[in-house]
């Protein structure tokens, strides 16, 4: 099962490899990973996505918690949350297709970030499914290059009536 795990950790050398070591040491792959500083520059927030047996992921989550440099661990599966990825796509855009590409990008609320006579580079954000949908639609037109960020996730605010 897919697990999106959010980790707050001290912003120090070596910390990231302690985190990833817990996965690789068990033969688990990390599908995506995103890290950056929080408001406090000494603290980073890391979001990672991994697939695996719930029991093993739970064990890894506990082990993550045990790392001296880790402040907080949340397995998003246990909460309601929003998640986003961003993708940059360079797509073939010649006379016949330029308008159609723009239309598709517009539907997905993407932005053109680079233009040449033969291609557009576009930026799109969304959850995993939306990003996949864009890719599927643009593929027949001709994707030349694609770069994706990892997932970032945030728990939803608790709604009280």
């Amino acid at each position: 099962m897919k697990h999106t795990i959010s980790v707050l950790l001290q912003n120090k050398p070596g910390v990231l490899s302690r985190v990833t070591g817990l996965f690789s040491g068990r033969g688990y792959n990390i599908e995506s990973l995103c890290v950056n500083k929080t408001l406090d520059p000494n603290v980073s927030c890391l979001t990672l996505v991994s697939y695996g047996a719930d029991q093993i992921i739970e064990q890894i989550t506990k082990q993550l918690h045990k790392l001296i440099d880790v402040i907080k661990v949340t397995d998003m599966a246990e909460t309601e949350y929003v998640e986003r990825e961003m993708v940059l796509i360079r797509i073939k855009a010649e006379a016949g297709t330029r308008a159609e590409v723009l239309r598709i990008i517009d539907i997905f609320r993407g932005k053109v970030v680079d233009v040449s006579s033969k291609s557009y580079a576009v930026e799109i954000t969304g959850d995993e499914e939306k990003i996949q949908a864009v890719i599927d639609i643009l593929k027949p037109i001709g994707i030349q290059e694609i770069v994706k960020t990892g997932t970032i996730a945030m728990a939803r605010a608790r709604k009280t009536l």
Binding site: Q10, P13, G14, S17, R18, G21, G25, Q59, K62, Q63, H65, K66, I68, D69, V70, I71
Partner: protein, 566 residues
Amino acid sequence: MKVTGAQALMKCLKEQGVNVVFGFPGGAVIDIFDEIMKNKDLTHVLVRHEQAAVHAADAYARVVGDVGVALVTSGPGATNTVTGIASAYLDSIPIVVFTGQVPTALIGNDAFQEVDIVGITRPCTKHNYLVTDPNELIETIREAFHIARTGRPGPVLIDLPKDVMAAMVNFTEPKPVKMRTYRPTYEPHPGQIEKACKSILKAKKPVLYIGGGVIASNAHEEVTEFARKMSVPVTMTLMGLGGFPGTDPLSMGMLGMHGTYFANMAVSDCDMLIAVGARFDDRVTGRLDAFAPHAKIIHIDIDPTSISKNIGVDIPIVADCKHAVAAMNSWLDRTKEFNRDEIAVKHEPWLNKIREWKAKHPLGYVEEADIIKPQFVVQKLHELTGGDAIITTEVGQNQMWAAQFYHFNHPRAFLTSGGLGVMGYGFPAAIGAKMAAPERTVIDIAGDGSIQMNIQELATAMQYKCPVKIAILNNNYLGMVRQWQELFYDKRYSNTGLETAPDFVKLAEAYGAVGLRATRPSEVEPVIKEALATDNTVIMDFVISREEGVYPMVPAGKATTEMLLV
């Protein structure tokens, strides 16, 4: 006050209460050794291989109940410590290992004797540090000791670049270490304690299953009180031996792969399993779905990652074992539902059933008139030391016979590489133990294979006048592996014969130690007596029955009730 990094290290060691350091010098740590020479408060034990320094520090830590310290140079000095560190990690032993490192400006350049030891030891330390800023040196050392000795203890490594040791630093007075992210839970949740006690009071067939956590947290008195008060039979893991008196009528000895018949039967039949500071290791559980299948499980452990790791737990209690068991004792004392005599009567049928199992298959072996049996040697060692020696072991059959037949009544008296199973642990550990408790008799129960893995430490034992005794149970085999080959590989003894071996008596003598040999059962007692009376390091070479096996045995992956018996 301004001092050099190396001087600051000396001051920190003193402030942490460190009197003994096990180490070996090299280029990257000359500055430190220069200070050690001037430092009259510190004994440095010069080992002959860095692996031995770590095992000795590990044993020292186990005996004194505080942090052991090792100090080695960069590169090969550092890599030689890895096995010792990994062993301390799996056994949760508090040690701090200082490694030298090339100067900061050279790090990452493949400099001479440079190795990324922080990277190498990341998965086998509780935490580790590379100190690149001299201003962070002192705080790092204090934090390292704090991490090693608190919570679930473990090894911490600090990598010290040569220039950091030479740099001037500002020495500040110690203040309590406060860490943002590391706060182990010592106190149990009162609600969980109550729930656990109520549920234990309802049980008809309870078993107490204790592990190394009981030793680490000094919970043996609380555990003993609890077991006797509640008339609960007790079984111990290899790491838990000595956590409850082995000669007590409630003791069932060790459980698991080479545990007693009655301990394994009791666990598989019990309706309540109270695990204290134990981690349901595969050598204990055997086939998981057949382990304690009828039991409600209570698990007390300071490390939340140990709970429900292998086996689902009904009542988890995250706490220090000593605090938690003390809380259970006092809850029982306060409640009207608990009456010591009534409980004893209620559990009598259960204890009786265990007595029947014990009578049916006691721990034993087939005696022979002319050949020394290894179990007999261990029994004699127990008898002639009054059960009061500190026993270290190597790994293999020797380790299991020591665990089965030297009935440990006290904690911190059985030192063995339990989790990693390191051949070569026992002898350096004996030296470490003797440095920690010079007044105690220290015996390494060894195998002929294992002892050769750190035999060079005879020089260390001689140099520091460490009259430890080594009892080699000499079967001329890598016996434990041979036993598996005998049972599961149709006696194909591939590479387990050790016919080519040194004459251990002469070997001892070459170092100035004493060598004694026994080849007949009647010689065992005189040899042990002479060894114990000698104020020198002694190797006792017991030539034992070659193909003796360790029994009972639960074949790997089988249910613990599927035991092969003597």
